[in-house]
Amino acid sequence: MKITSRPILLVEDDDVDSMAVHRAFKALHITNRLERAENGEKALAYLHDDTKERPCLVLLDINMPVMGGIEFLRVVKDGNHNLRRIPVVVLTTSAEQQDKIESFDLGVAGYMKKPVDYQQFIETVRTIDRYWTVSEMPE
């Protein structure tokens, strides 16, 4: 990651998937702190909470209870530009065309499919890390 001082916000309802990300971060030696929100609503609460540190990247699941990823993106898009500047990478099971279209329409920075195989998943996370190490991002 280009910025290592800021946390990464993981919006994910599945505990095992969350564990997988944690495990992958550890395996890849990604030093950024990983904050987790169980759904879109909790993620928004985190982002609006001034006491919490502003994340440098959001990893977003699509299918979640209470508030899904697409709805979260809609709220963010309509919200203030501070929020809009945080890059969002969708990390989901869904390969539905509809989800991809809506996500990119709402300005996501990337769309990754969670592979079933954990080794492949590590590769996916590695790719994300490498990309955001090379890519510039707003402070």
């Binding site: 095992v16 998937d17 997988a20 299918n63 390969a95 195989d117 998943f121």
Partner: protein, 610 residues
Amino acid sequence: MNERAEPVGRSWGPIMNRWRVESQILFAFTLALVVLAIVGALVYRAMSGFIDTSKAAAASRQALAAFDGIDSSLNQATAHERSYLILGDNGDLAARQAAVTRVNAYLAELDRLLSNDPQQNARLRILRRTVADRLLVFEQPPSGRLRSFSAIRQRLTRGPGRTLMRQIRNQVGQMERAEMARLTQRRAAIDRHLHETLATLALLLLFSAASLSLLYVGIRREIHERLQAEAALKRHAELLRESEQRMHAIVDTAAEAIIVIDGNGIIDRFNAAAERTFGYSATEVIGKNVSVLMPDPYHEQHDSYISNYLHTGKARIIGMGRETEGRRKDGRIFPIELSVSEIRIAGKHLFTGVLRDISRRRQRDQELANTMQELQSSNEELKNFAYIVSHDLKAPLRAIGSLADWLRADYTDRLDSEGKEYLRLLAGRVRRMDQLIEGILEYSRVGRVRETRVSVDLDEMIHEILDLLSPPPHIRVEIEGPLPVLTAEPTRMRQLFQNLISNAIKYMDKPEGLIRISGHAANGELHFSVSDNGPGVEPRHHEKIFQLFQTLAPRDRIEGTGVGLALAKKIVELYGGRIWIESTPGQGSSFFFTLRQASSTRLSNTEGAL
């Protein structure tokens, strides 16, 4: 309207005709009267001439008799004179006197008879004198026998007596001849008059006969014509009645309710179907306003509607069908399909409404709509099902896979070789289940997820597919090109060919494999085939292999989800085609399929799920 106008036009015909015939008859009669008068006058004249002439002829004959009388009476008188002179008998004197009297009487008669003939009159005067002279010869001397018989004898024989008698005879003869001539003349005149009269009468007879004949012919013809006209009229009336009866029958037996109203909305006719539809009998509603058959909102509008139409000519429902509502006698309101047409008879507006109770159709429509709704929701459910499979099934599967991996990684020193093998198998099954789920998703996307149809160059696409699949070197792929270019969803076409080609590669059991791909257009369809010299498929499996999740080889030996051919079949059918296999086990298989090109618009309407 035209039908009505015709009899009116015809009714003028007889009037004109009658007038003509009457004037003709009048003219004929007048002519006959005039001719009769003329002929009558002629006959009268001829007859009166005849009578006059007859009278004159009779006078002539009387005159001739009188001449004879004079002659004979005078002879008698002279004979008696002689007798007296010889015998001295006074009886002779008396007889002579009687004869003289007769002579005078004859003379007087002649005087009367010949009064209108001056010539004869003059002759008569001379005759009269001569007669008187003769008679005086005897009477001159004082009559007495004793005095001088010799003197009288002398006078009678030698004196003027004989001369006078000769004169008298001459004169009478002359007159007789003249009278005879006249008589002859008159007889000719009588003949002439008679002929004239006869001729005139004959003419009259002829004329009468002719005119009567003409009249007879004329009247006969007229009667004939009238009879014919009457018969025609009767026939016409019969036809009219028949056609009216037929009309009635048609209207009454029509399946649709037919109601005729006038310009004021008053019901004029109400057929049997209308009775059934509305529950009113015809006698109940005829003469009433049609609004009794309408529910309230239309009820009020209707009258103003008709008058509005009649004034402005703007029709809202006339001449077209529309759906509205009717009200039955029992108050039930029901949907109707109504079409109104206008007829004008003798300047009167009539409106014919043909209507049908469409309750049942509405009900059917509703049922259909419900079924559609159900279908749509079940379709939706199916789509959602695929979606749920995609997310809710995959997440735990991935968790199982991840956990197995972590177990193997974190607890590697505590696991024996058997435990490690189990975890390896577990990971493999997770992968396979993932592939199955992917297969279902792929399959469900066909027809559900649409792509824009574009021109697809199959030659190019097949090469891309072959690059992707990169068949091993012992398998040769032949393309019998050029393959057609078609308008389709590129993803579906790729899936279709890729599945068939990858199957051929995957199952190839020969050291020198051959895959042949061909395609051509025929009869508005595109025909393709993908053939191989692989193991082939037994005929009993030919149907089964196109079903979802059906594979012929154990998955442990050859990885396959059993989705490929089912997917190919679904795509082919979506494009209006069909797919089948021809195969000789041990020698190879040929997959044939067709795609319809022309009806691409129809295809875009088909909705498929799963």
